[in-house]
């Protein structure tokens, strides 16, 4: 019987594991291998060149520029998204006026949830195109029309090297808040109501409820969100490729690592070098995920 049971389990696992090995593990392993070669990407012939690709990376101004831009996104984006999502989720759950029925969300919270989540339904290139139109730098652009109405003149948006990265950042935030709002919302609704009611009874206002009750109870979810968002901030390929000039932005102001991988690998015929950038990105992602999980570890609160 036992024997048969193992065979049953193995039978289920073979296919997914094989798929995982072929489509996930082997490409990773191959990238490591190709990063040590001068493979062009369009020829079966290549040579093993050791760590030269990695040495060249250190002098590659564009790569360093991309690294810096990714770092800006990495620091700012997760914080902004998490704070906004938490704030909105809090309002939707417990932000409403206290009444006889106890703690509740603001009026129309169902509609807000839907509205916030809507960007998630759109694919990234669609989002990029929509925002590229909104950020139209001529006078007739939507963003510029609004600015002019309130008497602030007009801006170059994506064509301004000082603004372009922040425009990308904004679109990232806009596209992500909805999902994390729903995530936090789900986590918050699983917190027993009576904890909030007890806090209110003890005289806690909205602000102290938020910081002293909600955040500690959501810590696990926030931690997960943080890691996901960090990974997202290290990518942003599609947004940058579709939305920004070049692509890569005016004066490389929105250059990112993933774009460098694509350019080197596909346009310059330097798949080996692109693999080396990929390997670096792999380790950066791994390192950041590890650091974040370690740094944000707290004692778990049971309820």
């Amino acid at each position: 019987m036992r024997h048969g049971q193992y065979r049953f389990i193995v039978g289920f696992l073979v296919l997914p594991l094989a798929l995982y090995a072929v489509f996930v593990i082997s490409p990773f392993a191959q990238s490591f291998y190709y990063s040590l070669t001068n493979w062009t990407g369009v020829s079966p012939a290549f040579e093993f060149i050791g760590f030269r690709n990695f040495q060249n990376l250190m002098d590659d101004a564009l790569f360093l520029r991309a690294l810096r831009n990714n770092a800006v996104l990495l620091v700012v984006m997760p914080v902004v998204v998490i704070l906004l999502a938490l704030f909105f989720a809090f309002l939707l759950n417990v932000g409403g006026r206290g009444s006889r029925s106890g703690v509740q969300g603001v009026r129309g919270s169902g509609f807000y949830k839907l509205a916030f989540f809507l960007p998630q339904v759109l694919s990234v290139p669609v989002i990029a195109v929509i925002w590229a139109v909104i950020f139209d730098p001529t006078g007739s652009g939507l963003a510029n029309s609004v600015l002019r109405r309130v008497g602030l003149g007009s801006a170059g948006w994506l064509s301004d090297p000082n603004l372009a990265l922040y425009c990308v950042l904004w679109v990232l935030v806009w596209g992500s808040v909805g999902f994390y709002l729903v995530l936090f919302n789900a986590a918050m609704s699983s917190i027993p109501r009576d904890i909030f009611e007890a806090a209110v009874l003890d005289g806690a206002g909205r602000v102290s409820t938020f910081f002293r009750v909600t955040i500690p109870l959501l810590w696990d979810t926030i931690q997960t969100a943080w890691v996901y968002l960090a990974i997202l901030a290290l990518d942003v390929y599609a947004l940058v490729a579709v939305m920004t000039a070049g692509p890569g932005g005016p004066n490389n102001s929105t250059q990112v690592i993933s774009l460098q991988i694509a350019q080197n690998g596909f346009q310059f015929g330097r798949a080996g070098y692109a693999s080396a950038i990929g390997v670096v990105l792999f380790f950066i992602t791994l390192l950041i995920a590890a650091i974040m999980l370690r740094a944000t570890r707290r004692e778990r609160i049971e309820y």
Binding site: F23, P27, Q30, S31, Y34, N38, W39, T40, G41, V42, S43, P44, A45, Q120, S123, V124, D136, P137, T138, G139, G141, N144, S154, G156, W157, L158, S159, P161, G175, S176, F179, Y228, I231, L232, D235, V236, Y237, A238, L239, T244, A245, G246, G248, P250, N251, N252, S258, I261, A262, Q263, N264, G265, F266, Q267, F268, G269, R270, A271, Y273, G278
Partner: protein
């Protein structure tokens, strides 16, 4: 562990994975690939004759991949019919696609490429890499062969066709469509206002002033892709300093970009910008947005190539006469006003590892016949590199003005190659042009930035250096 936020990452990974899987196929199949050296037997299948100069085996299959972009792929289907008329037994596999690289990369990696490829579009294979790794058949034999209409093929082509396909002294690529670059305007609008393209820089500025006072921006450009405005600066620089300006740049000579002519042209562009003659915000517009505004009459001139009319035909209002003008001459220019950059595009290649190399060459020979080329022009409204193939055809305003400019410019027409030759240098130089067009740098800073990109390319051991004869 997928969140919907992994979307872009997923998209990217999918692509990366495709490439890696392709690579896997490549390395796993490498044994098969290098073992597959027998295709040569097929190409040597038949005896060579005047009617069959490459010795195509009549029943050998032919595998044709065409970039189905602005020109479509109907012309190729016509060429395939012609091919079948000569080789009745041949089965032709035709593919009209846009993602050339994604589909063909694995086939190159496994040593099993098609026989003829139109390697064009945004997703094209890196030509210089293919050339440097010896994967392209030398077309010299083709050009020295008798054309279907009589006489050597070489002599029936516009010279730029041969020059544009040259890599390391060998002609490896057949660029089929002729492209004419310049400043494009609506002749109807100009006639109505009594304007005409200006020949000198001073006159051009006066014209811009007049256009601006009529409430139209004198110039727009596709700022998101600085490649377009680059044309104008390069054209003015070459006209001022002669062809030597651009051969030095193409050959990555030291200080080539710091040439006085380049600097003057850069200053000219800055003057247009600083005098407010550019459409507001044009630096952030892509080709569709800017060209549409130009069609709407919000801007008078826009830099582009001879495909512009076809590209905009859905948007252009009735009566809009897309017409090309050469760039104006700066003081002391060496070349005449009526000449411009003329290049050849739609890069047709025959891979060395193709199974039917002889068939591929024969297919190109059919394309280069007057009948084949005339059909292309008829179907696409674009001229080919075959001389006189468009004679007698009814031309649109754009095609007519472009053909007239090519004829007027004759030997003064010029071309550059650094964008094709040195792909990693391209985005760097484009960035420099983008900053210049936005007026964020001085002409000197622009020259230094472009020169720095050229010097880096010249020093890069992975880049094959080329020189122009």
């Amino acid at each position: 562990m997928n969140t919907p936020n992994d979307y872009s990452r997923r998209l990217f990974l999918q692509r990366a994975m495709l490439a890696s899987v392709a690579a896997a196929g490549g390395s796993v199949l490498a044994g098969c690939a290098s073992g597959g050296d027998d295709p040569a037997d097929i190409s040597k299948g038949a005896a060579k004759s005047a009617k069959n100069p490459f010795g195509v085996k009549a029943d050998a299959p032919l595998d044709v991949v065409i970039f189905k972009g602005g020109y479509g792929d109907d012309y190729a289907k016509f060429h395939e019919e012609l091919y079948k008329n000569s080789f009745r037994g041949a089965t032709i596999k035709h593919a009209g696609i846009t993602d050339i690289r994604q589909q063909l990369q694995p086939r190159f990696n496994s040593g099993n490429p098609p026989d003829v490829i139109d390697n064009s579009g945004a997703e094209q294979l890196p030509l210089s890499t293919l050339a440097d790794t010896g994967q392209l058949t030398d077309l010299t034999e083709l050009f020295d062969t008798e054309s279907i209409d009589g006489g050597k093929i070489r002599d029936s082509l516009i010279p730029v066709a041969l020059e544009a396909g040259e890599y390391g002294g060998k002609t490896l690529v057949l660029n089929y469509a002729l492209e004419v670059y310049g400043l494009w305007y609506d002749k109807t609008l100009f006639d109505k206002n009594g304007w005409a393209p200006a020949e000198t820089w001073a006159d051009f500025l006066d014209l811009c002033k007049e256009i601006k006072s009529a409430g139209i921006a004198p110039m727009a450009h596709q700022g998101k892709y600085p490649y377009y405005i680059q044309q104008v600066v390069m054209d003015m620089a070459v006209k001022h300093g002669g062809l030597g300006v651009v051969t030095a740049i193409d050959s990555l000579e030291p200080n080539a970009w710091k040439n006085d002519s380049v600097k003057m042209a850069a200053e000219a562009l800055l003057e247009i910008k600083s005098k407010g003659y550019m459409l507001e915000g044009t630096e952030g517009l892509d080709h569709i947005q800017s060209q549409t505004r130009w069609n709407e009459g919000k801007a008078a001139f826009i830099p582009s190539g001879s495909w512009l009319e076809n590209e905009q035909k859905e948007v252009a209002p009735e009566g809009f006469a897309t017409t090309v003008a050469p760039t104006p001459l700066m003081d002391g220019s060496q070349l005449p006003f009526e000449c411009t950059r003329v290049s050849a595009a739609e890069a047709f290649i025959v891979p060395t590892k193709a199974k039917n190399v002889a068939g591929g060459l024969e297919f190109l020979r059919i394309m280069l016949s007057k009948e084949g080329a005339a059909k292309f022009t008829e179907l696409t409204a674009a001229p080919t590199v075959v001389q006189g193939a468009g004679e007698g055809l009814d031309l649109t305003p754009a095609a007519a003005s472009a053909s007239a400019l090519v004829e007027a410019g004759a030997d003064s027409n010029w071309n550059y190659y650094y964008f094709n030759w040195y792909s990693p240098m391209k985005p760097k130089v484009e960035t420099a042009f983008g900053e210049l067009a936005a007026g964020r740098v001085t002409a000197d800073e622009f020259c230094n930035a472009a020169q720095k990109a050229a010097d880096e390319t010249a020093k890069d051991p992975q880049t094959q250096k080329r020189t122009r004869s």
